[in-house]
């Protein structure tokens, strides 16, 4: 579990900001050639790969891989993957397994081909659990060639991922080295300066004694602390000041007890909201469906994950980031399969389920009643208003303080959504007359009454 960031640790904040300033300065210096080198190298790699693929396309036929990719994604991708088995077989290498005419026939109407008694077709049908493939009579032969051209591209060796991690390491290492060197030089210069000053002082004193000048002794003054202690007024005011300061900080410290804003525990499965809600724009309530109807938003059960992940066993290479490689994400998907007992090779459930023990992030105390559906369905509040930029979070953290003041504040400021809600008709009419306003806040509706949330 990560530590909760404390709101009031000023010293740490100062330290951090100083460190940040320094590192920023150094980074400015260190933005030099190695990184550019590695990027350009990666680009070259990609280009080479692309070249290679175009070369192989030429071998398969006159297909256009780019057009093929589009067709593949719209028509085939729900059941097929280029390089691994899914509902249907992996398509890479299909031109070696079957001849093109057979493929055309199969795609145009596989059922007909099987019915015609074609031995090859029957074998395929039997091998894939007699799952019928829908007919695509609309595809022309050249379309099919395009698709084939796309799927017959050799499997890329995850160039971006490699390049990406290379970039990460390169820049990190570069920054580190230059910083150390500069730090070393600075320390050296400082030490040198001190040494020079000491030597100059010594030399001057030597001159003085040599020339017989007596350096006048400073008269001994009363130590500062003594005069401070003797000045009662100063003692009084400063102790009051100290007490007030201590009180202020103690109050600040106690007020953050139990406030876990920024709480970001490590979860058993690294589930990235950035990928799901951000990149793929999956609607929040697709998974958190009970937020619409229930008081809890509900952590989705694993069968909801499997709706998609039955077909998605690995992430696309582009999904990987500097911090997390493709292998990392693929391993997390494997954890899901392990929990649900799904065997991706045989595409069956073993029945051995291991429920996932997520770490709860938003811990509202038991004596506070909060109903998601009232905020989501009735008020139409976006999830992000309380949960923050979920679609950007790699790992979810607590965005709001979840304190009562925070709740109350929102109830004071937010108008209730009355349009088209018959429930509010009469109340709205009466209340708007009473308060003389057209728009009513949740507070005016009684949303500040203790018993509305505490029972």
């Amino acid at each position: 579990m990560k530590k909760v960031i404390l709101r009031q640790s000023t010293s740490r904040q100062q330290l951090l900001s100083v460190a940040f300033l320094f590192s920023f300065t150094f980074l400015c210096f260190s933005q030099d050639t190695p990184q550019q080198d590695s990027t350009s190298q990666a680009m070259e790699n990609q280009a080479a790969a692309a070249d290679a693929s175009t070369a192989s396309t030429a071998q398969v036929g006159a297909g256009d891989a780019t057009a093929g990719k589009e067709l593949f994604n719209t028509l085939c991708a729900s059941c097929h993957k280029p390089y691994s088995n899914s509902v249907g077989p992996a398509l890479n290498g299909i031109t070696e397994r079957h001849d093109n005419d057979w493929i055309y026939k199969w795609i145009h109407n596989s059922a007909e081909l099987i019915a015609s008694g074609d031995a090859e077709a029957k074998a395929v049908y039997a091998e894939w659990n007699q799952t019928a493939m829908p007919a695509f009579p609309q595809l022309s032969e050249s379309d099919i060639d395009n698709i084939l051209a796309y799927v017959e591209q050799p499997k890329p060796q995850a160039p971006t991922a490699v390049a990406g991690s290379g970039i990460g390491e390169g820049s990190g290492a570069g920054g580190g080295v230059s910083m150390n060197i500069i730090l070393g030089i600075l320390i050296f210069v400082l030490v040198l300066l001190l040494l020079v000053l000491f030597l100059v002082n010594k030399t001057l004193r030597n001159f003085a004694s040599a020339s017989g000048i007596v350096i006048p002794e400073k008269p001994k003054r009363k130590p500062l602390y003594k005069s401070f202690v003797e000045n009662q007024f100063l003692v009084l005011t400063s102790s009051i000041f100290v007490l007030l300061a201590v009180g202020y900080f103690a109050y600040g410290w106690t007020m953050q007890v139990g406030v876990d804003k920024g709480y970001q525990p490590i979860q058993p499965i690294h589930y990235s909201h950035r990928i799901h809600a951000g990149d793929n724009e999956i609607e929040c309530k697709y998974c958190h469906s009970s937020a619409r109807t229930s008081k809890t938003s509900g952590i989705p059960s694993l069968n909801v994950c499997m709706n998609c992940h039955k077909a998605i066993a690995e992430v696309a290479p582009e999904t990987a980031t500097e911090d997390y490689s493709k292998e990392f994400y693929d391993k997390e998907i494997a954890k899901l399969y392990n929990a649900t007992g799904w065997d991706p090779a045989s595409r069956t459930y073993s029945g051995e389920e291991k429920p996932v023990k997520w770490v709860r992030i938003h811990n509202l105390p038991d004596f506070a009643y909060f109903n998601h559906s009232q905020h989501v369905s009735v008020a139409g509040i976006q999830c992000q208003e309380c949960h923050g930029p979920i679609e950007e979070m790699e790992v979810v953290y607590q965005n709001a303080p979840l304190t009562m003041g925070w709740c109350i504040n929102c109830h004071r400021e937010t108008n209730i959504r009355i349009e088209g809600n018959e429930y509010y008709e009469k109340i709205h009419e009466e209340l708007s007359k009473k308060y003389g306003v057209e728009e009513l806040t949740a507070a005016q509706m009684g949303g500040l009454e203790c018993g509305k949330c505490h029972y």
């Binding site: 139990g258 876990d260 809890t296 069968n303 770490v359 109340i427």
Partner: protein, 1017 residues
Amino acid sequence: MSSNKKYWKSVEELNDSSVVETLQQKEFAEEIPVEDFLGDKASLESSSTSRRDFLKYVGFSTAAATLAACEGPVVKSIPYVVQPERIVPGIANYYASTIADGFDFASVLVKTREGRPIKIENNDMSTFKGGVNARVHASVLSLYDTKRVKRPMIEGRNVSWEEFDREVAGKLDSAEGEIVLLTQTFASPSTTKLIQEFSSKYGNARHIVYDSISEDAALNAFQSKYGRRALPNYDFSKAEMIVGVGADFLGDWQGGGFDAGYAKTRIPKNGKMSRHIQFEANMTLSGANADKRFPATPSQQLAILKALAGYSSGGSSTSELDSKIDDAVVKAARQLRQAGSKGVLVCGLPDEEAQKMALEVNERIGSQVIDTTNARMIRQGDSSAVAQLIEDMNNGSVGALLIAGLNPVHTVPNSKEFVEGMRKVGTVIDFAVRTDETSKLCKYVAAAPHFLESWGDVQFSENTFSIMQPTIKPLFDTRQIQDSLLKWADNNTSYYEYIKETWGAGFGGKDWNHAVQDGVFEGTSPVSATSASNSGSSSKIAMELEGEGYELTLYSSTAIGDGQQANNPWLQEMPDPITRASWDNYIMMSKADAEDLDVMNENVANGGLNGSHVDVKVGDHIVKNIPVIIQPGQAKGSVGLALGYGRKAGVQAEMQTGVNAYPLYQDFKSVQKVKIEKAAGVHEFACVQLHNTLMGRGDIIKETSLEVFNTKDVHIWNKVPEVSMDHQEIAVTSPEVDIWESFDRTTGPHFNLSIDLNACTGCGACVIACHAENNVPVVGKTEVRRSRDMHWLRIDRYYSSEESFTEDREKKEDISGLGSSLSEFGELEEAADNPQVIFQPVMCQHCNHAPCETVCPVAATSHGRQGQNQMIYNRCVGTRYCANNCPYKVRRFNWFSYVQNEEFDYHMNNDLGRMVLNPDVTVRSRGVMEKCSMCIQITQKTILDAKREGRAIKDGEFHTACSAACDKGAMVFGDVNLEGAKIIEKKNDDRMYHLLESVGTKPNVMYQTKVRNTTEA
């Protein structure tokens, strides 16, 4: 010191007593043995905890506490792997099911949260109003009983079902002698068919049905008259004149559940209501609700019944009754005759002739209240067959005995004989839900599931049926008896399939799914019941009641019933509606008899009630040390005692309460002639209401007669209290005398609860419903005795010392001067020989001008716009000012933490029992005040649902746990700002009054004045 004044605490002090002097010098009367302890070096050194250790512990615990306070705990959330389609976390699902435990039969609605049943409610679709009473409401907690049988056992050893089946099949095949199935009343067509099949497989099998508390006499009477073994059905909502003779038909008489119909006729409509005359020995709910009650011993009841039968047939047979009762009987008979088809006579005597007489009277007057065609099937027991069985067992002619749903070792009167017989039976198998006296003695214990985990079909009456549906996956490795019998009869279908097969085509016009969804249907049974032949021995009580001694009437208490759920803390802590004592059974005795026997009741200093012990003897059977409660209204020469208590086996130590009365239940007769002797010792009761009478305080209970109600002005019988303002009497409700600034209560919903004292029978269903809904803790007997009970809703019971409350009040008004007040108030305190009784449910009155709110220093209790007085537990610091300032005394303080506390080892102290907690209501911690919230979690849910669905709320949608539990309609809850709501009608009713209106608290709970029908023919 400037003053020479002498301050003193006692008279002795003034007189310079030397004792006082010494006491003043020393703070502690006895020396605290500090020196003894610290001076004794040896003991200090031998003590394992040294000073350094102690400091270490202090240091560690302080550090640990500090650390624990800084770091929040890591909370895990574990979602389903595959979420069932119907389960949405946070939303309750309701399923219809049926309870049929042999004693209570009812169609119920089960509320489940995340797959856990947490509450039982009425199934409104049921046409058979078989009472969802307090025990049925509490049965959900019995599901989570830690003392349940968790897996099949052979000789106390846990075995698998395979092994169990193998052994049992072998034993049954090789049984020498007949195989006997001794079961509860299942009233299930499928089970009847199944037992027939099982019997035919083994050839020599016999099925005996046994009810722990027998209705033999009524069953025999009905059988000899109508040819079927069943009980007549009564619809009291059609009654205008009810005469009860020893029949507690508002209790468990003939299966119970008649109270809802009864209550309907008790609310005066168009100046009319039913009249109810009761002759009885014990003070029962029926007697308490009657317009006129006459105490009569069972032998007198028999004479009364005979006289009634005589008079009602027009004859003028002279009875040997004393003139006062005879006069009452003549009047009752006349009114019964006048009522004609709207009249009914009910009898509770365990005597076949008496029961027949009652049936004949009803037939003669052509009563429409009694229904003999659609007869009740929920009691089938044949106690003569049980007696025969015990004989056979001792003869050794029984090869195997299968016991289901029963605890005969505890409930059979001659338990010793039964146990000896059991030893002579080769194989005894007990299908036990809970560990009990019987299962402890059985070699084979087949773990049976609770009804909330079982399938079943139940025939309530000849044409009303109900489906029992599981609402949770069996918690333990259990198998219901039907599945076991199917297996042993080599039938491989499950009982679930078997029910469907039995019914074949349809369930009274519904398909299976609809039948399960509704839970109830009407039709005809596909299985012809093998009517067990009446095995002769007609039951008579007249002979037994001759001779010297007291007449004992055994009854089943509202809370514990026949004793099945003795391990249920909710029921143990529920105060008896009449005596207001919890955690006990006792001999109820009239005051005169108590004086004869020199037994006493007294209230002691800590507020508890103490009572003497007596020994009770029937023939050679003696039950010792039964505590006595002196019961106003108990017929002289008679005593009462509740069955079902005194369970020891499989019952937690705290709940091993009371004495076992079954040894007195000789010949399965509830009426016995007994000898009573005073025994030594004093018993401590946990009695929650010590004020026996109302003392004429008319603003608590308002009562009038039907005549006055019909003819006089409302100000006469329901006067609003007045206060003096500018030397003018002015009604306390008028705005001029109001010193409060009022809230605006016109916008949005404003809740009111109306309680009709006429319809409330005191059954206590609301008390348990409130417990279940609001996570009210159980505090145990010693705490209840200290008046620290936590009931949010109590049902106060008031007696009048005169014949009626009105007379009480007149007497109080007439008191003048010190002399008469001293003597007459004393008299008012004594409850009379035959008092009138009133039940008054009291919960937080949700005052609009609440005295509790103004005194809270931290604003932990505040007023909501919806009329609810809100209690905020997390804000409360426990000053208890509010409770002290509450005129209704409805606030409850958490003196301890009742959750996960070994000292309060009830359901909240174990994981299983905590499954019953309602997740929508906070579990309170130590040191906070709590009280009725007017079920704000339910009203809020109704509002929030309506908002989400974007609709206005209709009348009848709002309810509270208590108003939903009250099938009598005594509690009506609703929004007074909703046009046309029923609650507005109640609010404007002439009978409406507020509790202690003179205080000016303006409560949101209102009461409807009690009206008694005192019309005499």
